[in-house]
Subunit: 100 residues, 2 copies
C-alpha cells in the first residue's frame, strides 16, 4: 500500500538552503528502494523550515530507506542544521481522483 | 512553480469513508486545470481524519480549482462531514532527489 510521509523540518536561522541542497541531491538509490515521490520546498512565510512530501511503495520501504548508507550519511550531514522542531503526517494512500 | 498543498481534514465520527468517496471520485477536470497529484489516505491511529497530499502546476492553479463548479459541488457535499478541524502545509517545490 502506497505510503505518504509529509513533514516540516525546522532549521536554524540561515540553514534552510543548505538543508535543501542536501535533500535534493540526485539519488537513484532512493527510487531503487521504493521512493515514488520526494518533493522538497519552502514557504516564505516560514523561512526557518523545509517541507518534504514523500510517497513510498510501502511504509516498510520508507522505514528501510532510513537504514541506507547514503541516507544515513545525509541525515548525519543535516543534523547540525535542524532546530529540533519537526512535525508532519504519515498516511496510507487509499486513492486519487486522478486515477480511474 | 509547482505548489504543494497537504492537509489533514477532521471528520465527524464515522464520516471518514464518505469523505474519501467524495475526494477520490475520478475527475479529468482537475488534471485539466493543473492538478499533478492528489493522493487521499488515512492513518488508523487517527480514525477521524482524512489526509490529502496535492501537487499543482502553480499556487494560482490550485486557487482557481476551488472555483470550478465540480469542486464547489464536492465541497458543499463534504461540508456536513467535517468536524471543523483542519491543518496542513503549503509550500513551493524547489526540487527532488528523484529528478536530475
Amino acid at each position: 500500500m502506497t505510503f505518504a510521509n509529509v513533514g516540516r523540518l525546522g532549521v536554524k536561522p540561515g540553514a534552510r538552503d543548505q538543508l535543501i541542497e542536501i535533500l535534493t541531491r540526485p539519488s537513484t538509490e532512493m527510487s531503487m528502494h521504493g521512493c515514488l515521490l520526494y518533493e522538497v520546498g519552502v514557504n516564505e512565510e516560514q523561512p526557518d523550515a523545509v517541507f518534504v512530501s514523500e510517497l513510498w511503495e510501502s511504509a516498510e520501504a520508507h522505514a528501510a530507506s532510513l537504514q541506507l548508507d547514503s541516507v544515513r550519511a545525509a541525515i548525519a550531514e543535516a543534523r547540525p542544521l535542524f532546530s529540533g522542531e519537526f512535525d508532519g503526517y504519515r498516511f496510507d494512500v487509499i486513492g486519487s481522483p486522478l486515477r480511474v
